[in-house]
Amino acid sequence: MSATLLRALLLGLLLSACAVARGAGAPPLWAQVDRVTWGVTPAELQRARQMGWQAYLDAQLHPDPAAPLPPDVQQRIDALSISREDESAVYWDQLARARQIRQLPQDEQVEARREVRRVAGRRAAETAQRSAWRALYSPSQLQELMTWFWMNHFSVYAGKGYIGTVLPSYEDEAIRPHALGRFRDLLGATVRAPAMLIYLDNVRNASGKRNENYARELLELHTLGVDGGYTQHDVQELARVLTGLGIRPDARAPRVPRALRGQLVQDGLFRFDPSRHDRGDKTLLGRHIAGGGLDEVDRVLDLLARHPATARHISRKLAQYFVADRPDEALVRRLSATYLKTDGDIAEVLRALFSSPQFAASLKARKFKDPTQYVYSALRLAYAQGPAVRNPQAVTGLLGRLGQAPNRRVTPDGYPTAQSDWSGSGQMTARFDVAQRIAAMPAPFYREGGPDKDGAPRPRLPAPLPLAHAYGAQPGPFQALSPATRHALAEAGNVRQANAYLLASPEFMRR
């Protein structure tokens, strides 16, 4: 018997002892890790095992902001143009070019306009690629998962206007730093984010020329929820509060009457223009909001972020994502209470969620993966052994294939995530196709980007190992495969085909 095997067996015994110590009802560690990451892998499970669940969870809830990505992945992200360009400069340049286009001969205008739009498309695509790399390789897995969750909660459509251009900072500065922080901070960051102000037309919302689009979604989708007890009047009043929040069209100072200059706020591309702001008093949710400047927005966001309806709405949505499509109301109440007690501390709400009996029960029942969870978890497992994926476009392509292309949801409600949304016949066969591609056709994931790099050497990929045995003798997700799945794996003609079946199995559809 080899030393390695002996060690594995001993470790197994030790773990069984631990399992007993944790109580017969305690959920298996692999299932816990699977649920709080983009997918459990042998290495991730090993890390959690060494730290112990509580310490692992603590680290995931409060990640080290400096925790490094694998160096080769970091290098590739650094090489993206979004990592090198100044976003404001790019955006202003686009606006300037769009203005110049009007002076061009007509037959050149169409192509010139496309050229300007291409910049936004490229930056949106690179943002999606960066997020795919981080989802696959970041040690701060829960933060990446929550970044997706909030990007979807505060959803913007990258194809509108030049949103693609400002998408990198939306994800990296508005969302990710607050993904596990206080909801109030997250909300405040989105209210100043150019992507949001463009997407929901607040750039067109000015005193005397109101646009209610953002106000309505802010109440219905972002904070109180559709049944949160607000009225059409509240929407109109919030729209008034939001007048004047917009974007700097260039680096010059705006023409603002002298008396209002003190209220002008500029920060990057964000601008609060007091001359576009409705300075009258407002009433929101029965509260008097004395007319002012940008401070009105801060007061209103405090009110909304601390509102019990917001606590309930956010708590329910988290429970839907992490526990069950139709979560137990008792759980939602408990999470809401934690939310209100901690002033909307997302990490604390999640801690309460992960320690709830409903969460433990859901680990046994398992939860159907949405397309993004499916694709990322399959890639994390299938390519855990080899070099890091070099062509994240192949990854984002699969997300699009399954209907969750990053930042491509046209409507502001974000992608649905429930089983009923993603278990139709077309989705299932598309997932089988994706499973086949990931398990049996690795080349596209390692193709270097750009037509000029076709001749670049491909990395040597290790021979595929049977994924069903990836966890060896240790407890893992594939110990309890159904007889039918075992049979399919056994009948597969080769390792790649067996791996494709495993990724296509009913077990792997759940987390």
Binding site: P105, Q106, D107, V110, R114, R117, G121, Y157, G159, K160, N213, R216, G400, R401, L402, G403, A405, R408, V410, T411, D413, S420, S423, G424, S425, G426, Q427, M428, T429, A430, F432, D433, Q436, S482, A484, T485, H487, A488, E491, A492, Y501, A504, S505, P506, M509
Partner: protein, 397 residues
Amino acid sequence: MHRRQFLAHAAALPLLWHGSRLYAAPDSGARLLVVFMRGAYDAASLLVPAGSDFYYESRPTIAIARPGSGPDAARPLADGWALHPALADSLLPYYQRGELAFVPFAGTADLSRSHFETQNSIERGDPGDGARADLRSGFLNRLAGELAQGRHAPAAFTQDVPQIFRGRVGVPNIDLGRGPAAGLTGDRARALAAMYQGTDLARPVEEGLDIAGRARDALARELSEANGKAVPVQRLAREAQRIARFMRDRYNLGFVDVGGWDTHVAQGAANGALARNLAQLGRALAAYAQAMGPAWRDTTVVVISEFGRTFRENGNKGTDHGHGSVYWVLGGGVRGGRIAGRQVAVGRDTLFQDRDYPVLNDYRGVFAGLFGRLYGLRTASLQRIFPGVRPLDLQLV
């Protein structure tokens, strides 16, 4: 998703269905297929206002010649309207048989002139006039919800479920054009089905594998037929035939979209890019009609687009984003052979904002009127499908 990127380059690509849905159909009853021409096709090239001198003044290089002026001339219909010659072989016979009507000056009040915003607003059934309807679901989904259990069997023939079919009623999507069908056969299909037997996902998996298998069988049959006759069947027409098989056998409320209409540059006239696309779509619809067989009697096909294009030719021998469009209504039970709906004479003074066709036949009213006739839906139902709608009964069926 890809659709949007597609639009940007659409003119250069071959015409493909890129989305569709189907619903399981009962043996009898109305079958409705909605076809969305994404990208805003140039309606004034399809339904030519041949009686209008202003049309010929406005389009020095891209107008379709007056009927009777040669082989490239438009084919006369009624009331001074004429049909693009690219449809002479495929759809003109349906018009002449009284199975095809056109509804000019159709569209939405939405004035964003943005492809995606207007498509989205139409698919939701939004009035588009700024009075936002707060609709999240799509109007075909709400239609399915209003039809009694067993009366509706919806399906989208698209890569994923489009906005028009999102909502409370579960709608499958059937991706005919590409994808997994090729690999999901034989041993693999059997192994996959066996893994799911007895699970809560058994039904969709079985259905998906079944569809993939049928698509493959149909493809094989088409190939052998095509080889036998040595006539290459165009891809769009082939996919239309596949959709017809589903609509004949299992579904009765379908949706498919087809791109390639955003003709800002060099759209051509009797020949050229737009003519080729129109010819392909015409042949595909004719192939669909034929493949429906006896069920064609109960079939209605409505062809729509998000908006029209500028009435005047632009500096690039193309047209830009406009307003009013022309809808097509085709079917065995359609009261066709006519130009339906409210009309005005085509001239400079009747253009909307001195640039586009006006919208006189609101799409919600047209659909509501049609739904009333097809399904006998009453006002309350129609109001749930299109809140605030005033149905416009054009007696299309």
